[in-house]
């Protein structure tokens, strides 16, 4: 447990560092990420360019810094939107029960049956590439899983006596959802949110790599990996740097999720089902 705690703090520090770098990209980045300097392309580390430059002579470190802004923020925002959509539908489904629940769950089943990567690609193909399409694609392809878990949690919580007690005292549906249901399902959901942010970062990177997400001049880890595939033999860091950032970010968020899950299990076993 002691070791896990240290890992958790480290992982949290890494996550916060990525967030900070993303927010303060304009202040931190030594170069304009799109400043081309062909004379200096694929150069090794130097005083001016700490990590060297890419095939167009752009500063690798600055591109990584701006990349963490787009990758991490899209992931957080997309997960937030998914959470909002999935949680609302799950709450409604679980709280109403009966035929509305059965109807909603049938739709959820259909959405969950489609492989999510194929789904994202299909939606992006339909809407065309871009940030907005990417967000829509991620929300449409992953709200169902969220809503199912929220709904199952609601079903479990609504059977508790304190919910019946509140109803017997005359509490309405909104009061009960706000005061009794949400606080009791939010903590277990935290684990799910954390894992989801990790996988969304990967989806964003994968789609940008395929040219379906953000487009070329933007700095994004996925685009950087795509750019690197022709040049990594001449200067390996162009591939290594964005890949390492991606791995580090996903690793840290998964460690955080793992630690939260352990803590919750310790608490009351509420995270068993996640």
């Amino acid at each position: 447990m002691k070791k896990k705690r240290v890992m958790f703090i480290l992982a949290l520090a890494v996550l916060l560092a990525f967030l900070f770098v993303g927010v303060a990209a304009d202040l931190i980045a030594p170069w304009d990420p799109n400043a081309v300097d062909m004379a200096n392309s694929l150069a090794g580390p130097s005083r001016a360019h700490w990590l060297g430059t890419d095939h167009l002579g752009r500063d690798l470190l600055s591109r990584l810094i701006y990349g963490s802004r787009s990758s991490v923020f899209i992931a957080f925002f997309a997960t937030g939107c998914t959470l909002l959509v999935g949680m609302t539908i799950g709450l409604v489904s679980g709280w109403l029960g009966g035929w509305p629940d059965q109807l909603i769950q049938s739709v959820v089943n259909i959405f969950q049956g489609i492989p999510s990567t194929a789904f994202v690609v299909a939606v992006l193909g339909l809407l065309g590439p871009g940030m907005r399409s990417l967000l829509i694609a991620i929300v449409v392809s992953s709200w169902a899983g969220f809503s199912r878990i929220v709904r199952n949690q609601v079903l479990e919580v609504r059977e508790q006596h304190y919910i019946e007690g509140a109803r017997a005292m005359g509490a309405g549906g909104l009061y009960i959802v706000r005061r009794h249901i949400l606080p009791n399902i939010l903590l277990p959901l935290l684990v799910l949110i954390a894992t989801r942010i990790g996988s969304t970062v990967l989806t964003v990177a994968a789609m940008s790599y395929l040219g379906l997400g953000l487009r070329a001049p933007a700095s994004d880890w996925g685009i950087m990996i795509n750019d690197a595939k022709l040049y990594y033999i001449r200067y390996f860091p162009v591939l290594l740097a964005p890949a390492a950032c991606l791995t580090l970010f996903c690793l840290s968020i998964n460690l955080i999720a793992d630690y939260l899950r352990d803590r919750l299990d310790h608490d009351d076993g509420a995270a068993r089902m996640l």
């Binding site: 007690g165 005292m169 005359g170 009061y175």
Partner: protein
């Protein structure tokens, strides 16, 4: 004069596709409870006694029948009209470990009646609560604790204190002590009796424990498979039971005591 009167109360649960399977949990039950009276409802688990309690407190809609309170059928009044009755009819549940929201402090739980009803002393509810809980044997330190850190017996006291903030006239006690140690059981039953003497509240005491019911009820009813087989004064029913099931129940409890 009856305080609450059930007439031909029936509950059918439907399950399966389009409700193809039906299960009658409560079958044509009629009974009345007077002011200040304890009515003991006795039966094995699964006989429908808890379902009956939930219908009385309007937690579960009835399939047919009436619940008359103040001459009005509670099952047929609108949500808004029902609200004032919510104060007057309350329920104490079987499992103390889920009776309070585990993420809230005891004080927060005790504040809920004030948030939901226009009770006297709402403006300074914390003072009212601190004064109120003394009569229920709740130490003031407990108020700051989370519900998950409170023992079963204490939880029942807290829930009971919260119910009494609403000044109800009728409380359904759904196996209120079955999850508690014997010594704590006796304390809670004594507290319930004390409350009844002080306020004249009526109880519907639901239990499978014949001894508990015998000691605390003025009148009793015996339930099996959703049907009320027999009812009357406690002494009369237990001394000269008319239904063979009642007789076998009494015998099995007598056997357990020997």
């Amino acid at each position: 004069m009856a305080l609450i009167e059930m007439k031909h109360l029936t509950k059918v649960f439907r399950s399966g596709r389009l409700g193809s399977r039906a299960h009658t949990a409560v079958d044509d039950v009629s009974l009345t409870i007077g002011p200040g009276e304890t009515y003991g409802l006795m039966g094995e688990s699964g006989c429908g006694k808890s379902t009956l309690g939930r219908m009385l407190t309007c937690l579960l809609p009835a399939t047919s029948g009436q619940v008359l309170y103040d001459g009005r059928d509670l099952l047929r009044v609108g949500k808004r009209e029902l609200h004032p009755y919510r104060r007057r009819v309350q329920m104490l549940f079987q499992h103390p470990d889920t009776s309070l929201n585990p993420r809230m402090t005891v004080l927060d739980s005790l504040r809920e009646p004030f948030l939901l009803h226009d009770l006297p002393g709402r403006a300074h509810m914390d003072d009212v609560i601190r004064e109120h809980i003394r009569a229920y044997g709740i130490q003031p330190e407990l108020l700051e604790r989370r519900a998950s850190q409170v023992s079963g017996g204490q939880t029942q006291r807290i829930v009971l204190a919260r119910i009494m903030l609403l000044q109800p006239e009728f409380i359904v006690l759904d196996e209120p002590t079955s999850m508690l140690d014997v010594s704590v059981q006796a304390q809670i039953m004594a507290l319930l009796r004390d409350i009844q003497e002080r306020t004249g509240v009526s109880y519907l005491l639901i239990s499978h424990d014949l001894d508990l019911i015998r000691r605390s009820s003025h009148r009793i009813g015996i339930m099996r498979d959703g049907k009320l087989l027999e009812q009357g004064e406690t002494g009369a029913v237990l001394d000269s039971p008319t239904h063979p099931y009642t007789r076998s129940l009494i015998n099995s409890f007598a056997y357990m005591r020997d």
